[in-house]
Symmetry: C2
Subunit: 211 residues, 2 copies
């Protein structure tokens, strides 16, 4: 039978002898460690993809300022004039930073076999942030979609009246940024499933992973 | 030690003797059944609250048609003119219906001790739908928020130009409906945590609940 302490930050799975450091002491532990490593590698891939999507989305939207066609002396049409687009940039930038930090933490866990924070805090921290940020990102991109659609339909222009025919690049770049943001949200939602599974394992077995 | 079959739709927990039907055969089973019943009661409460919020939100938005002040012969300002508000109604109506069905299924499970669908399908069905619909509802209400804000700022009126001063009731009613929708989304997210835990229990222990 498994002890509830089994695999808590490597206790009981690693030899206390410093010369054997990092080497599991029995077959069951080896399988567990390998499974946990594979699980963490999958999380790492999801976090990397989320990072790429949200970084691209942030950059696309943050560089989205254009001069309307045939209006060389005119005012720039910029994402900063629209609350919803500011929300898209903020949401994606937060996720970008969060994914970067989490990638670091996951790589640490894969290499060292222990979590940076105490394990209980780590599993709850990961899951709660993943879940909350996934909702945040879906909300932000959804808000951006409505604004992009309102601009395309001709209403909702701030300050000066334009149409997407005059500032086509602005409308297209917004749409691309929002689509990339939704891509990031989907992969963050996938990470949520995995970190949620870790929390459940922790509650049920008292370890980060079940054998 | 628990068998993986333990508590699968009551197998092994109920006596095969028809006279003992519904009565657990040993102490461990009694505790498990009671725990599962309490867990399901909590889910039922969350679903009921979600249902109330989303029903209220749907009704508030669906009845949101007003004549602008001092414009007795004018056109009605209605939620049907706005894509985002239609999305709010659709999203909340779906959740309302879904919560009703799930309440029925949960009451069945509490009373009969078995799930309506085969247990594997049931736990995955519950969790996947909870998760997807929670994202849907957050997105819908977030979209509605942007539209409500755009109307308040004076842009984005469809057909005729108004302001929230002229059609104050329309703007307020939209805001109330969206707030109620967010309330429903939060409780749906809470249900997701519980149904997600059931899935994890299923994967790890092969039963709907752990002792």
């Amino acid at each position: 039978m498994r002890s509830p302490e089994f695999m808590r930050n490597g206790e009981g799975t690693m030899s206390p002898n410093p010369r054997n450091r990092g080497f599991p002491t029995n077959f069951q532990s080896t399988v567990s460690v390998q499974k946990l490593r594979r699980f963490n590698s999958l999380i790492l891939i999801f976090r990397l993809v989320t990072f790429c999507f949200s970084l691209a989305s942030t950059v696309f939207m943050a560089m989205n300022s254009h001069i309307p066609n045939g209006d060389a002396a005119g005012e720039w049409v910029s994402w900063t004039n629209y609350d919803a687009f500011r929300y898209v940039v903020a949401g994606n930038a937060i996720i970008c930073l969060y994914s970067l930090v989490q990638m670091g933490a996951t790589i640490w866990e894969i290499l060292k076999g222990t979590t940076i924070l105490p394990e209980t805090i780590q599993v709850w921290f990961d899951f709660s942030h993943d879940q909350a940020f996934a909702y945040l990102l879906f909300c932000a991109n959804s808000a951006g979609t409505v604004m992009a659609q309102a601009l395309r339909s001709g209403s909702a222009w701030v300050g000066q009246e334009h149409s997407c025919n005059e500032v086509n690049a602005f409308c297209i770049q917004s749409a691309v940024s929002i689509s990339l943001g939704f891509g990031g949200a989907v992969f963050l939602a996938a990470s949520t499933l995995l970190s949620g599974f870790k929390v459940a394992c922790w509650i049920i077995n008292g370890s980060r992973f079940h054998l």
